[in-house]
Amino acid sequence: MKNLFKSNMSIMLVFSAIVLTAPIWLTPLGANYPDLLQKFAIFGLFAVGYNILFGLTGYLSFGHAAFLGVGSYTAVWSLKLLSMNVFLGIILGTIMSGIFALAIGYLSLRRSGIYFSILTLAFAQMAYSLAYSVLTPITNGETGLQIAANDPRYLDSLVGISQQGQGIPSTNFFGVLLKSWDGYFGFYFAAVILILGFYLSLRVFRSPFGLKLRAIKSNQTRMTYTGFNTRPYLLSAFVISGMYAGLAGSLMVAIDPLAGAERMQWTASGEVVLMTILGGVGTLIGPMLGAVVIKYFENIFSALNNSELHQVFNFLPSFLEETMVFIVSPFVGSGWHLTLGALFMLVVIFLPGGMMEGVTKINSFLKRKFGKTDAEESDVSIQQEVQAKAQQGGE
């Protein structure tokens, strides 16, 4: 753990550099177009926030997509009623989802374990079903809530901005259109918020508050007898992660002003769970990594077809090329979910710490192989582990 925290500053610098240069280094992977980059940033933010709940406290929520949806709807309404400046929409979206998270969290956290998961699932499904049916005046149901040319936008008209007769206005951030720079402004906007959100999560991780959350995950009963009232801690974590979700949801709207009910469905909540686990639950960077991998799969892998596969394998002799394409093709294109599901299972079975654990393992393997001092160290810890296990067995 300590190594991870060695320096706030250097972590943030490296992280920011990687995020901000993404349009460049993602070019060879074909993932450098604004829409996908924005998705990386937004879902990264969502996962980073979700990790504050699931990663730190171990509470598995299957309902966080609901907060994302609430953030989205609030943001669209802010665009419709107040101003096309997304600043307000993002603030309001985050606050509103925080309020929802407070209410749902307050009730759900009365239970733990699988009961907590099912409670959050039930709440989220209710929100989804209602958004789809009775709440259509607010959500516009299946069609999705959009902005219209003749929306009132009271705040904008108050300061004398009128877009009548110009069609549907675009979202802006204090005058700069989010779609400027061919859409890359939207990405940088989301990226800056992601960096801020990541910094916040870093602070939470290394704060006394974060330590207490990790202790709750480790042994909640002990926390109680150590003098902590665990429920407010859990509720704070729940609300914080809910607000991250709301922030992500309103960012989606800032960049593309539309909110659909399907982003609240439980499978959408499942997706953020997948991201977090895949990347490495409880690690700082893992969830972000998971989000990028899944969104990359969803957008690039899913669009691969056989002719592109043939191109990939055309260095092979033709019969081998055919075989490879035959083997690989079920896993790409519309079958990308299969790859995802299989990958996810492998991670849960063999690498419960996610991709980050894989990185650590490879790292220590290399060290063991090439560096002697470290090798000794790890041998010691292995011995200790063996010892501990033997003792447990003896009990």
Binding site: T27, Y132, V159, G167, F174, L177, S334
Partner: protein, 450 residues
Amino acid sequence: MKKNDTNKSRRTFLKTATASSIAATAPASMFYIKDAFAAEDFRNNPKDSKTVTLGFNVPQSGAYADEGADELRAFKLAVKHLNGEGDGGMMNTMKPSMLKGNGILGKKVAYVTGDTQTKSDAARASAKRMIEKDGALMISGGSSSGVAIAVQGLCQEMGTIFMAGLTHSNDTTGKDKRRYGFRHFFNTEMSGASLGPVLEKEYGNERTAYHLTADYTWGWSQQGSIKKYTEELGWKTKAAVKTPVGAGDFSQFITPVLNSGADVLVLNHYGKDMVNSLTQAVQFGLRDKQVNGKDFQIVVPLFSRLMAQGAGDNIKGILGSTNWNWSLKDAGSQAFVKSFGKEYGNPPSQAAHTCYVQTLLYANACEMAGTFYPPEVIKTLEGYKFDGMGNGATEYRAEDHQCFKDVLVVRGNEKPSSQFDLLEVVQEVPRAQVEYDASLLGGELGPYKV
């Protein structure tokens, strides 16, 4: 490549900002600037490229996936014909036409596809991918009005022309119409206007209707239109119940119909939903019922052959309306059916027809405008009159980008002569009967330049 683009648009942005007097005098930063393309440049301008890319965004999963698959077949066929392969299909019957069978403006047509999943979010994401990553110059397709409206909004924002596929809600060319969006398909207002007189003739003036309505823009629109026209006949509306899209099991919505006192069930469903709800309605014995001394009737205002195929015998004798049917005998329809049937072994659906026509219309408009520059293409399409595309003389009305043409009222065929002969045309309702004033549905098209 990317860097150049960014620089260019940044420059454009600055130019606009300084040129605009609002910008110069704006007091606060909270104002609004319009981005603009210079006349010679626009998003995904093919410039010297030998090909031009079109994006076909169709549902490949979900309740409308059958329609989506057929649309994709039609698109592929249209691309073939545009590139001068195959027998040319409707390119031979379309008039006026400047299509030469050498691509569009001499550039070979390439295409990319996406899956809308019949979800607004997913549809927009895949449209965005096609525009931003694959450089699609035009987006077409879709089999849901919810999706069409969402994608149309996006296309306006991105400055990319959207040639809507199957979308039947009034809102697509009404409340939510866009300058960059065009619809060849008819709408619920036209369905109501054409179906009304036939319903009166067949079922009389004293009927009580019960609506089951897909809960999204199209369902609401169709329910509104049918209600409007049937109530004009003197029908009563007992209840209008909204059902979630893709509900699968409709039994809980159908059972209340049994004892409601209604004698007509209007199913405002489409695709798989309609197949399921109709099948289940028949299973629950609705069609064998007598209510108020009359035979219980089911009406499916929007019909398609694909649905009829799914519903089997249950569809026989049921009335509805459709945009086009393969049994039409005009030269355009025949040419298209022949070409499509030869390629795929079955006749095209109405969804396939509208998508095929839309692709050809777009290509032709580019040829006529002599450029791909969207505002010019839009201006060419607005008010464009054409014929030979299967529905008689047709006009793209400039005010709302809605095509006006004849509408078919059809009935599930009692004695089909072949496995595809599922719909019997009751009446070809002339265009004049279904035309309405553009102001009826409201909306605002928005600017040419974005």
